[in-house]
Amino acid sequence: MKRIITLTVMNRPGVLNRITNLFSKRNYNIESISVGYSEQEGISRITCVVHVDNDGVLEQITKQLNKQIDVIKVMDITEQSIVARELALIKVVSNSSTRNEIYSLIQPFRASVIDVSKDSLVIQLTGESDKVEAFIELIKPYGIKELARTGTTAFLRGTQKPSQAIKPYSIV
């Protein structure tokens, strides 16, 4: 199952190395990881998307992450009310005959064209991973020259439904 885990970490040298090292050392599957500054100085936020077989593995991942000295907080937010976004840049083959057709695909996805050349277009798309994947499938037949995805970044919505309490993984 796919889980979204967010971490707040001390912005110290090597912190990203510690996290990724832990994933490979403990043999965990990671789909994406995105890192950046948070609202507090000296503290960064990391969003990981991981694949786990069962709750036991997930519990171990969160505990092992928590054990890292630079990690301040670990949350599995998958079950909660969240906003999750990913950015994709797609360079797609296009000439005068296909350009309009591609534009018509872009519209419903609220993507935008940020560069046009004689034989290609660069499309920028933001959204949840599912949306990004759906769009890529759709655009594939035209010929994707280059593709770059940032990986999911996510956090909790301001208002949480009371029923969706945090799942008690940690037994601390």
């Binding site: 090597g14 190395n17 510690r18 090292n21 050392k25 171990q60 054990k67 000295i69 037994i171 601390v172």
Partner: protein, 571 residues
């Protein structure tokens, strides 16, 4: 004291001092008494300042020996062992020791030199990415980027290494940082928002455990090294007696509970005794205190304590539920948890039948060996135990001799058993005994090795002579890598692939070359005379004991088997 005044004076005048001096001052503040270090280019500024320092510096003959010695020191004193190595090869030579300390949760503070900040990343002479290399095998590591940070980092490192679940912490100091001059910074507080070990147990979990104990019919305590790190041995004894609970030990926990105590059920695990392993198999309540359910202890997890409610007291929450499903988790320091358990004064379980069963097993299935005229290693261990009245510090290497020592040496006190458990590091024994003897100069230190492991760090004999350490080096010599040979015999149809030495050095002559007296022992009578002569005097000695090379360690749980499938439990 002299130097401290000098330092205070310096501070008062706010005279700038070097990074190396700041480091040594910080070590003094942590009351470091001994450093195990090896100089080299990148740590020359530090060594220049050490020249004037009063801290005892031990120079091993290989960095690996240095870090194992620090581990031995740490294991016996409970204090962090301090190591210095230079950049590049110096630093990579301590990797095994770091991994070993990480596995066995030994507090170490390790300083490595690094090339100057300006050339980091250019593949400079003796450069190695030691932060990258050691991240997975240290509790934490630092590279100092500014001289003013040194006092804070050293303070933090000692705090991290010794608190919570202890472990090794590495500080990488570039040469220009050690040599550079800075004003003495104001003392900074440790700020580690991501590191707050839970020491006090949750009251509700303690209640739950107390109730489970009073209901239990077949309870057993599994005590690990967490008891030793928490210094909770008195409390363990008190609690076990209060509730009348039998206690089994992990390999590393030995000494936490007195071996001659009627409630002691023995060593559990792959080569543990029948009683301890069957107690784990049959129990209905398993109280794990400070052990991590290592695979060598549990055997096949499918058959591990199949009918038990599992309670697990550990300061590291990540260990709880990692290998064994736990119904009563208690995240706490072992000592604090035991104190609270004692304070509950819960109703002791009604389980006389269970205690009778354990006692019957103890009588029926003791450790045994056949006496056939050849010198048996088990006999040697029994003699060592008797001759030292069970009060020696026993340091071992890894292999058959380690298991025999664990089986036959009955520890009545804590912190007298130094061994490499989790990582199983051959070569650990001899250097670790140096640290152990320095930590406890008045104790008899038995450094027990096989002839294989002994040859992995032989060069440290020089340190034993140089420092006049009366270490009793005991080599159980079977001219082979005994444990490998045993496995090949049992699991690989006696195809002894590269496990038997075709040639061996003359260990007595080797000892002699280092100025240490040596003896060959070939039978019990010889052992008797020589043990009487050398074990209690104040000189180092090497005993090359020629044991029966075909002797195997039993009982045994084969890999993949459960506790109830032990073999070799009866003659």
């Amino acid at each position: 004291m002299l130097q401290e005044t000098a330092f205070t004076k310096m501070k008062a005048e706010n005279e700038p001092i070097s990074g190396a001096e700041l480091m040594l001052e910080a070590l003094k503040k942590e009351q470091v008494e001994v450093i195990f270090g090896y100089p080299g280019g990148a740590v020359l500024p530090i060594y220049d300042k050490l020249y004037d320092s009063k801290i005892l510096h031990i120079l091993p003959r290989h960095e690996q020996g240095g870090i194992h010695a620090a581990e031995g020191y740490s294991r016996v004193t409970g204090k962090p062992g301090v190591v210095i190595a230079t950049s590049g090869p110096g630093a990579t030579n301590i990797i095994t020791g770091l991994a070993d300390a990480m596995m066995d949760s030994l507090p170490l503070v390790v300083f490595t030199g690094q090339v100057a900040t300006g050339v980091i990343g250019t593949d400079a002479f003796q450069e190695a990415d030691i932060l990258g290399i050691t991240t997975p095998i240290t509790k934490y590591n630092y590279q100092v980027r500014s001289i003013e940070d040194i006092p804070r980092i050293v303070k933090e490192a000692f705090y991290v290494a010794t608190s919570g679940r202890p472990g090794p912490v590495l500080i990488d100091i570039p040469k220009d940082i050690a040599a550079g001059i800075a004003n003495v910074p104001e003392e900074q507080e440790i700020v580690l928002p991501g590191y707050q070990p839970t020491v006090q147990p949750n009251y509700l979990q303690i209640r739950k455990l107390t109730e489970a104990v009073s209901r239990a019919k077949k309870p057993v305590i599994l005590a690990g090294a967490g008891i030793l790190f928490a210094e909770g041995y008195e409390e363990l004894k008190q609690y076990a007696e209060q509730q009348n609970l039998p206690v089994v030990h992990t390999l590393l926990g030995l000494g936490g509970f007195p071996a001659e105590h009627p409630l002691f059920a023995g060593l559990a695990g792959m080569h543990g005794c029948y009683t301890a392993n069957m107690a784990l198999y049959e129990c209905d309540l398993l109280i794990n205190i400070g052990a991590r359910f290592d695979d060598r202890l549990t055997g096949n997890l499918q058959h591990f304590a199949p009918n038990a409610t599992v309670a697990h007291i550990d300061i590291d929450p990540a260990e709880i539920g990692k290998n064994v499903q736990t119904q009563i988790p208690v995240v706490a320091d072992a000592k604090e948890a035991l104190k609270q358990l004692i304070a509950q004064e819960g109703k002791p379980p009604v389980h006389q039948e269970w205690l009778d069963t354990l006692n019957a097993w103890k009588k029926e299935y003791p450790y045994f060996y056949k006496e056939d005229g050849r010198l048996k290693p088990q006999k040697v261990m029994e003699m060592l135990y008797e001759k030292t009245k069970g009060e020696a510090i026993v340091v071992t290497d890894v292999g058959q001799h380690q298991m025999w020592a664990a089986q036959y040496y009955k520890f009545s006190k804590a912190n007298r058993w130094v061994t490499s458990g989790g990582l199983g590091t051959m070569g650990f024994g001899l250097p670790a005994s140096i640290g152990a003897q320095l930590a406890s100069p008045d104790s008899i230190v038995l450094s027990i090795s096989g002839d294989g492991g002994f040859q992995m760090c032989t060069q440290e004999l020089a340190v034993i002579r140089e420092q006049n350490l009366p270490v009793k080096i005991i080599i159980l010599n079977n001219s082979s890598l005994g444990m490998v040979r045993q496995w090949q015999e049992i699991f690989y149809e006696s195809r002894f692939s590269h496990s038997k030495f075709s040639g061996q050095p003359d260990f007595v002559k080797l000892a002699d070359a280092y100025g240490i007296k040596g003896y060959v022992i070939e039978d019990v009578a010889q052992a008797e005379t020589i043990f009487n002569e050398v074990l209690t005097n104040n000189e180092p000695v090497l005993l090359d004991i020629r044991i029966d090379p075909d002797e195997n360690v039993y009982p045994m749980i084969a890999p993949g088997k459960g506790h109830h499938e032990m073999v070799g439990v009866k003659p």
